[in-house]
């Protein structure tokens, strides 16, 4: 079945450093979504990308969809302690979603 690989699994950064997580699929995707889950919380939708090569920004977060629509990245500039959590990508199939394994981000103050 359809799968999406997400790397890295963990990332520790110093506050102020940048952070990037990547999602890769072997098949062409119709869209990709990104979610953030704070420690102890539930996943919260961040953004959806649909178009080839699409780039969207939310303050310090930059989301990109690959030209071939097989990969996506989430980049955080100048991380803050509030960025701590696990970031998931998700791809949609018929009626359901497939989530990546997530990247757990720790920010050291």
């Amino acid at each position: 079945g359809q799968q999406v690989m997400q790397i890295p699994q963990y990332q520790h950064v110093q506050e102020g450093e940048d952070f990037t997580t990547y999602c890769n699929s072997s098949t062409t995707l119709s869209n990709i979504q990104w979610y953030k889950q704070r420690p102890g919380g539930h996943p919260v939708f961040l953004i959806q990308l649909v178009k080839s090569g699409e780039v969207k920004k939310q303050k310090r977060l930059t989301f990109q969809f690959g030209e071939a629509k097989k990969n996506s990245s989430l980049h955080i500039t100048a991380t803050q302690t509030t960025d701590v959590g696990t970031y998931f990508c998700a791809i949609s199939g018929t009626y359901k979603y497939i989530f990546g394994t997530g990247t757990r981000l720790k920010v050291l103050a």
Binding site: F45, A90, T94, Y97
Partner: protein, 111 residues
């Protein structure tokens, strides 16, 4: 606006006991509903999804079952819990296959 409720928030159950977790959605009609399980520090495992009343699709064969007795109510059940059923259970809804909105979750510990 739409809201999603899950209860209980935490649950400690002995092995072999039954389970019933409830999820309700307000402010929308005919949503797609989902049950996920998340082991500690792990990703999201889709357990069941439903596109309508009485319509349940199972993703993982196991000792859990789901039911949707009403349009905005989704129930996760088990007749006999196993140790491996421990985890964080999340209910989610979406309109068609679009943005998913997750409930606050239930932390289940099976002892």
């Amino acid at each position: 606006s739409q809201t999603i409720h899950q209860w209980p928030a935490t649950l400690v159950q002995p092995v072999g006991s039954p389970l019933s977790l409830e999820c309700t959605v307000e402010g929308t009609s005919n949503p797609n509903l989902y049950w996920y399980r998340q082991a500690a520090g792990r990703g999201l495992q889709l357990l069941f999804y439903s596109v309508g009343i009485g319509q349940i699709s199972s993703e993982v064969p196991q000792n859990l079952s789901a039911s949707r007795p009403q349009d905005r109510q989704f129930i996760l059940s088990s007749k006999k819990l196993l140790l491996s059923d421990s985890g964080f259970y999340l209910c989610a809804w979406s309109e068609a296959v679009d943005t998913q909105y997750f409930g606050p979750g239930t932390r289940l510990t099976v002892l």
